[in-house]
Amino acid sequence: MSKQLGFYFDAGRCVQCHACEVACKSTHELELGPRWRRVLDRWAGKFPLVVNTSLSVSCMHCADPACAKVCPVTAISKRKEDGVVVVDSEECIGCRACRKACPYGAPQYGHNGKMQKCYLCTDRIALGLQPSCVATCPGEALAFGDVEELAKLAAARGGEKMEGVTRPSLFVIPAKNVANISIEFHSFFQELHPGRTPSAQE
């Protein structure tokens, strides 16, 4: 298996402070609008046995990226050396087919109308730095690395790889809660992408 980098998120350590989100915007000097990383939250249960849990998500650098498949000009590609999904903004024509195809709402659009998204801070990684979201996380809920290593870490902490037809490279550790309510991680994406279920086949 070729190398694949991915993210790791521990809901039991996330405090919904949004530092990852703003660190990302600031590091990449993003214009207003596009959000490469987002902290989503879900409520469940009935007062006073209530559960509130979160998910910090960006592009998941899927093993089988739906965005790349549908791009009419092959502007989206998956890097061989680390599996990071990247977009060539010079080739992108801004048709938004990728946005429609991605189950997680990862592709974003700014004023130039072209797709932009998380590229896993490969420039920072090359310099020996962590992606900005991982580096700043006060609860140390985020990590990144090779999926094989992340799988071991996730297994040790009771988590697993997020399922989905695009085979996202994201490992999630659900938060334990007093009400023993389990929240399906895919449910977080409903608001981002109404009308689509990430686990269903195209």
């Binding site: 039991g12 405090v15 209530v50 700043t136 140390e140």
Partner: protein
């Protein structure tokens, strides 16, 4: 903002770079809250030089990293950052791993700093009012002209009305509050207007009960109680989150007592969803159970407490069944929690500012302090420590405020004492209640304040009675605003002083815990202005108080404060990790010392005259206040004013902190506003459904005193009989098309919602203001 043309985003560029990375995870060794790492003391002292050390961190060669400290939240700074500069522009921040407080981590606010610095709302130059008050017409003047205008006015008023006619309001960013005190003392006014909402009120109650404000030993505890505290929002990178997550992963039982489910509650084992403002009733009920069931530490009670025998009959009436209709907490849950707390050893309680937003503030804190004491948790490992570190700050020292000049005559002149005169001066100096500065202007009693200076504080959105504040600002002789960006009441100012952000100065040094470190300048000031610190020094000199203000030298000012540490500011600047005195090993059960601490009062008498925990408080009794903690109803509540429930069925209160904002500032910072775009009302799904409200609807919230318009945020993490909102909303964000909101009708200013009845809206001893009322909510 650049667009999507950044080189790494092209495929060609990507392919040429190495993408190899091992697993990077910081999960090992969950951190504990330690104020200063031991290694920092080993930094060698290098020869003094004027230039700050420029960091060589990994990053593109075109970028320069300047090690300094974040300045996006008050009241304290201390999170170490590398400020990244490219082509002379401050572009982003990175957390500094060697910074002991944040260890490389930062919060959302920290990362948005460049947007704040370059904000279009920044004040660019000093201004003088030319139109009518409230119209907002100004003309540009120089820094010197502005200083002359203020100094001339103050000199004239000092001569005509006495120096006490000047009041300075307390800023939200507190690192310069000692400079305000120094100016007031040199000038001759005791009137520092402090808003009774933040730390000082609980510190007072704790000190007069157990000798000091205890610090929870979360690191070593078995039960961690988060009471009216927000460990996540109050600076997520400062250690609160680290302690919370570490405690949780160690298997510590975590209990959160607060009205809504905030992120820290989501990590707790038990949520006690108390009705806002009823913490005193709940604490009294806990005391009732602990005493009734004899769950207290008899040895400690016998040796180290005074008046326990009088508490026993006193709390008999405060049963959990008595408390239930007040607090909304089932009696059985109160009993269960009291037992859990009293039988889990050790247990610690982290008390937050939420308690200081109620008229029963002083008694709530006293009851909690007594609870900690009689269950044997005081100054024991894993309990509530009395090491005096809670207000630990480097440098300064009491004489910085020139407090040695205070006399009885001085205290007598306080216009509206924050604490009764017999308790003055307080922790920082003599103080008047913030809201009473405006009352004095309006009523002329006991005498009228003639000049109000508002440095880093926005009175219309910071204290109750917004209409009164506006009336007073119209009436007062002279009003000066000092800030970085426009403030809510800037249109009323006679003179506006713009100041630097902390990224544009190389002072002051930052204190955190017992340590200090120098601040380095990131960029040159963007306009005709200096720092807050320089302003007060310049004004001091202009007033003729040069001897007290180092004849205008900021370096001499820094050096004098560092003198006790045996280091100059130039030397401190060379130590990237700062300077920390050697850490003392923890000492537990140091009661003899803690219980004989001297107070800050003029007579320097002890806080605890009996040398023991003041369960029965003879000091309060002598001055006509309750010797034992009692329950006091908010001005309006389901139990205080049931007759109002048919019209106003819901309890309303507001949040002290938020995840991305700072009091009434930072709404103009677009990266933060994207996270929290609108003022919202948290409302339970059933309560919302009864009113046909769904998330996102505009809703009108009405009380007896005012009304505000918010966006509904419907979720089950709140009591169905309660609705809550964040305070401090007025600022717009032009980049996102958000306009400024009015501070009165039609706006979102929670301050306009509460009672200002002098007899019922304030704690009678510590002037804490009510943040509770009854409301009705309807779709707009």
């Amino acid at each position: 903002m650049k667009d999507n043309k950044k080189p790494p985003l092209t495929r060609r560029d990507f392919l040429s770079r190495s993408g190899s990375a091992g697993i990077v995870t910081a999960l090992a060794g969950a951190g504990t809250l330690s104020v200063f790492a031991a290694s920092a003391q080993e930094t060698p002292l290098v020869a003094a030089a004027a230039k700050p050390p420029i960091d060589t961190i990994k990053g593109p060669a075109s970028e320069m990293a300047i090690p300094t400290f974040c300045a996006m939240c008050g009241p304290s700074y201390g999170c170490g950052i590398n400020a990244i500069v490219r082509d002379g522009k401050f572009i982003r921040v990175e957390g500094r791993k060697d910074a002991p407080l944040n260890r490389g981590k930062l919060c959302a606010k920290a990362h948005a700093a460049p947007q704040w610095v370059y904000s279009p709302q920044r004040l660019k130059y000093p201004m003088r009012r030319v139109g009518k008050r409230g119209k907002g017409k100004f003309e540009k003047i120089s820094w010197d002209q502005a200083l002359d205008l203020i100094a001339d006015k103050l000199k004239e008023q000092k001569k005509r009305y006495g120096p006490e006619s000047l009041a300075i309001l307390s800023p939200a960013h507190r690192t310069y509050s000692t400079y305000l005190y120094r100016f007031l003392t040199a000038h001759g006014s005791p009137n520092y207007g402090h808003s009774g909402i933040c730390a000082i009120q609980k510190a007072f109650a704790f000190s007069y009960t157990v000798g000091t404000h205890p610090a929870p030993d979360i690191e070593n505890t078995k039960l961690y109680v988060i009471w009216a505290k927000q460990p996540v929002y109050a600076g997520s990178s400062k250690g609160g989150v680290r302690s919370l997550i570490a405690a949780k992963e160690r298997g510590v039982k975590i209990v959160a007592i607060k009205p809504t489910m905030e992120p820290d509650v989501a990590h707790s084992d038990l949520w006690i969803p108390i009705r806002p403002g009823t913490d005193a009733a709940f604490a009294l009920a806990l005391l009732h159970v602990v005493i009734e069931e004899k769950l207290y530490d008899t040895d400690f009670v016998e040796k180290w407490t005074y008046g326990f025998d009088r508490l026993v009959p006193h709390v008999r009436k405060y049963s959990p069944e008595w408390a239930e209709p007040i607090t909304g907490i089932p009696a059985q849950q109160a009993r269960d929690f009291a037992r859990l707390y009293a039988t889990t050893k050790p247990a610690c309680i982290e008390v937050g500012n939420g308690l200081e937003h109620a008229v029963s503030c002083n008694d709530a804190v006293r009851a909690i302090a007594i609870l900690s004491a009689i269950t044997g948790n005081l100054d024991r490992k894993g309990g509530d420590l009395l090491n005096g570190n809670f207000f630990g700050g480097g440098g300064g020292g009491s004489s910085f405020t020139l407090s040695e000049r205070y006399t009885q005559e001085w205290v007598e002149k306080i216009v509206g004492p924050e604490f009764p005169k017999a308790f003055q001066p307080g922790f920082e100096g003599t103080s008047t209640a913030y809201y009473r500065v405006f009352e004095s202007v309006l009523t002329g009693k006991p005498y009228p304040i003639r000049t109000i200076i508002a440095p880093g504080t926005q009175p219309t959105v910071s204290t109750r009675g917004t209409a009164n504040v506006l009336a007073a600002l119209k009436k007062v002789d002279f009003f000066v605003v000092i800030d970085v960006t426009r403030t809510a009441e800037i249109d009323y100012a006679d003179v506006v002083i713009p100041v630097t952000t902390m990224y544009e100065t190389d002072h002051p040094f930052e204190g955190f815990g017992p340590a200090v470190a120098a601040r380095n300048k990131v960029i040159e000031p963007l306009g005709d202005y200096k720092s807050d610190y320089e302003f007060w020094i310049d004004l001091g000199v202009r007033m003729g108080y040069g001897k007290d203000f180092w004849n205008g030298s900021i370096e001499a000012c820094m050096d004098e404060q560092l003198k006790p540490m045996g280091i100059t500011y130039a030397e401190l600047r060379q130590r990237k990790q700062g300077f920390a005195p050697p850490r003392k090993p923890p000492v537990y059960e140091n009661y003899a010392q803690a219980f004989t601490a001297h107070s800050t009062r003029l007579d320097k008498g002890p806080y605890l005259p009996e040398g023991k925990v003041a369960i029965y408080n003879t000091t309060f009794e002598k001055l006509g206040f309750n010797p034992l903690p009692e329950w006091r109803e908010p001005p309006e509540s389901p139990t205080a004013t049931p007759e109002l429930l048919s019209k106003y069925p819901l309890t309303f209160s507001d949040f002290h902190t938020s995840k991305v904002y700072n009091a009434a500032w930072l709404r103009n910072v677009a990266y933060l506003r994207e996270v929290m775009p609108d003022p919202t009302l948290q409302i339970h799904p059933e309560t919302a459904a009864e009113r046909g409200i769904v998330s996102g609807d505009a809703v009108v919230v009405e009380s007896l005193h005012g009304s505000i318009t918010l966006k509904a945020d419907v979720n089950p993490g709140i009591r169905p009989d309660t609705v809550m909102a964040l305070h401090g909303w007025w600022q717009g964000c032009a980049e996102l098309g958000k306009t400024n909101l009015p501070v009165l009708e039609g706006g979102a200013n929670t301050n306009s919602m509460y009672s200002t009845d002098p007899k019922r809206a304030y704690d009678p001893l510590v002037t804490a203001m009510t943040s509770q009322t009854l409301v009705q909510v309807r779709k707009a």
